[in-house]
């Protein structure tokens, strides 16, 4: 394997053993960007000079014989809705096209303490609204496995960068599947931690009761290491949970014997691609062979998850995005006669179509006369969806199902039909509504050789068990060693 294809844990050992320098590694990743970024377009900002300087500093430390942390000197990408001090943070929106974050998100502060090399900011659907990264105001990202296909979304740039070898690791954010689904589409590992596990301070808000930051990596081992770094209570986010953070790498054990794995029948119904069903069923058989006990379960309110999610998340978004008024930051439209006209013109001119659509759905659902029928109703069904999981987890340790109903589709194929796009999120949104952790690991390919992901769902704050199942499955296969064929590779 080439350097840019290796996972972080292998590269870390190579750095420690002085087989490579961080500068060699960083230059290999930057050369890979020169080679393939024109086709993949995963990045909105590339901080090349900073990356080189960071790498050199790490090499000096190693030369002096100092010990280095896990991510030290290893290049990664940050989704562009995570505030990075002194670096543009655009959310792939024209309204923030010149916004330079004046502070670091808590996850950035935690990461920077580890001294990684930050390559740049990754493309996404505008304000994380979308499942294909086609809603970026700036560029469409190509899936490294077939650049005519979408990388998924909204963290499509993060997943594509890891899959293309233009980043070793990345951070994404997941409101309704935005880490897990692009990980599935791009053949990499992505985890949404339990709501509250990772601080949201400095994550540009989309839907505050659902948003969560998480890692996108080449394998489960890297995922556990990065989760260790970013987790924990933060007084800047009052919804971050005050629970001890375990060492997640201790969960990397090849053993699922006796674990009860629930298979929700509602996730294998209409609309599921036959290749997805086949590969996910094979993965379930594999878990059984490895000693897990397979239990069929029912999550009866699954059918209502899309409606519930697409009422709650736009309602929260309508509120959160009211801040884009052209006053304190972001773009401002010119030639307005008064304040309200200035705000209206600014938002009309600089927000994209899907963002406007969700703001309007949200305001409709929250408006007088419709609040009870839509928003309040959705909150009640949200409780029923959560209770489905509570009941299921009385019986089983983890739940396993597809991450997405289909593999990656062609750019442009679904974008004109918003409802069809929303229906793609059926397997991922229930976890966000219930606040549960979930991971997507590669489990095979479609007949067109596009990756397919297996989703493993855990109890709240039990990332350890899903990591254990994911690791055991991963090690029984070789998908985590496969790389997209791209450029000269």
């Amino acid at each position: 394997m080439k350097l840019f294809e290796q996972p972080a844990h292998v590269l870390h050992d190579m750095l420690v053993n002085k087989e490579i320098t961080s500068l060699e590694l960083t230059e290999a990743v930057l050369a890979r960007i020169d080679e393939v970024e024109g086709d993949v377009k995963a990045y909105l900002t590339i901080t090349r000079d900073v990356a080189i300087a960071q790498a050199k500093a790490v090499d000096e430390k190693i030369a002096k014989g100092e010990t280095i942390s896990f991510l030290e000197g290893i290049p990664g990408a940050i989704k562009d809705n995570i505030c990075t001090k002194g670096v543009k943070t655009t959310c792939a929106s024209k309204i923030l096209q010149n916004f330079v974050a004046p502070y670091d998100a808590t996850v950035m502060t935690k990461l920077k303490a580890q001294n990684p090399v930050i390559i740049g900011k990754a493309n996404m659907d505008e304000f994380a609204m979308g499942g294909s990264t086609e809603n970026s105001a700036f560029q469409k990202t190509g899936n490294p496995w077939n650049t005519e296909c979408v990388p998924g979304g909204s963290s499509g740039g993060s997943a594509a960068a890891v899959a293309a070898g233009t980043a070793v690791w990345a951070l994404g954010s997941d409101t309704g599947g935005s880490i897990r689904q692009p990980a599935s589409f791009c053949g990499v590992v992505g985890m949404k931690p339990t709501y509250g596990r990772v601080s949201r301070y400095g994550l540009v808000a989309y839907a505050s009761s659902l948003d969560q930051i998480g890692p996108i990596t080449k394998d489960v081992t890297d995922c556990a290491h990065i989760l260790n770094i970013i987790s924990g209570r933060d007084e800047m986010d009052s919804t971050s949970v005050n629970e001890e953070v375990p060492d997640f790498t201790k969960a990397l054990v090849e053993d699922v014997k006796g674990l009860k794995v629930g298979i929700p029948k509602e996730y294998f119904v209409k609309g599921i691609d036959p290749d997805v069903e086949k590969t996910v069923r094979e993965a379930i058989d594999k878990l059984k062979e490895l000693g897990a006990e397979i239990v069929e379960i029912s999550l009866p309110n699954t059918d209502y998850a899309i409606s519930t999610y697409y009422l709650i998340s736009p309602a929260e978004a309508a509120t959160n995005l009211a801040r884009y008024d052209g006053v304190s930051y972001g773009e401002r439209a010119e030639d307005a006669a008064d304040l309200v006209e200035m705000i209206t013109k600014t938002r009309t001119q600089y927000l994209g179509e899907e963002v406007k659509r969700r703001i309007m759905i949200g305001n409709y659902a929250l408006s007088a006369g419709y609040y009870d029928a839509y928003y309040l109703k959705a909150l009640k069904v949200r409780r029923l969806i959560k209770e489905d999981f509570d009941k299921a987890f009385e019986q089983v340790d983890v739940i396993v199902c597809p991450t997405a109903p289909t593999p990656a589709y062609k750019i442009g194929e679904k974008i004109s039909n918003p409802l069809e796009m929303y229906l793609q999120d059926a397997c991922t949104v229930p976890l966000n509504l219930a606040g549960l952790p979930g991971i997507s690991v590669p489990c095979g390919y479609s007949s067109d050789n596009m990756p397919i992901g297996l989703q493993i769902i855990g109890k709240a704050l039990d990332e350890e068990t899903i990591l254990r199942v994911a690791y055991t499955y991963e090690q029984s296969q070789s998908y985590h060693n496969d790389r997209a064929q791209l450029g000269g590779n």
Binding site: N98, F99, P102, Y103, Y195, G196, S209, E235, S238, T239, V241, D303, Y304, I306, S307, T308, Y310, L311, D325, V327, S328, Y329, G330, R332, A336, D338, L339, E341, M342, I343, T344, K345, R347, T348, L351, K356, R357, I359, M360, I361, N363, Y364, S367, Y374, L376, K377, A378, L379, K380, V381, R382, R383, L384, K386, P418, L419, Y422, A434, G435, A460
Partner: protein
């Protein structure tokens, strides 16, 4: 159609958005399609079910009220589209 032209105009005002005349029919249709789909929720019996706004069993998180360093004023103003004398500047709000 559930959403009328008037509803659409109302929601645009609430959202502080202008809907261009040539997009109005398309936006109305799309909003209607989505709302019609959402109607599947009416089949769910939610009598006696409490709304769930937030999954965590926490509320009212307090901390000591101590003075801490906050964002520097120049930095806080650094992204402002228009500023003057250390303030954000907006079109006149009050009448003379």
């Amino acid at each position: 159609m559930k959403v009328t032209k008037k509803d659409m105009e109302n929601v645009a005002v609430l959202s502080r958005l202008d809907i261009p005349a040539d997009k109005e029919a398309q936006y109305t249709q799309q909003l209607n399609d989505v709302l019609e789909y959402f109607d599947n929720l009416s089949a769910v019996n939610t009598d006696d079910i409490k709304p769930l706004a937030h999954v965590l069993p926490i509320s009212n998180v307090f901390r000591e009220d101590v003075v801490k360093e906050s964002l520097d004023r120049d930095l806080a103003l650094s992204n402002a589209p228009l500023k003057e004398d250390g303030y954000f500047k907006v079109p006149k709000v009050l009448e003379d």
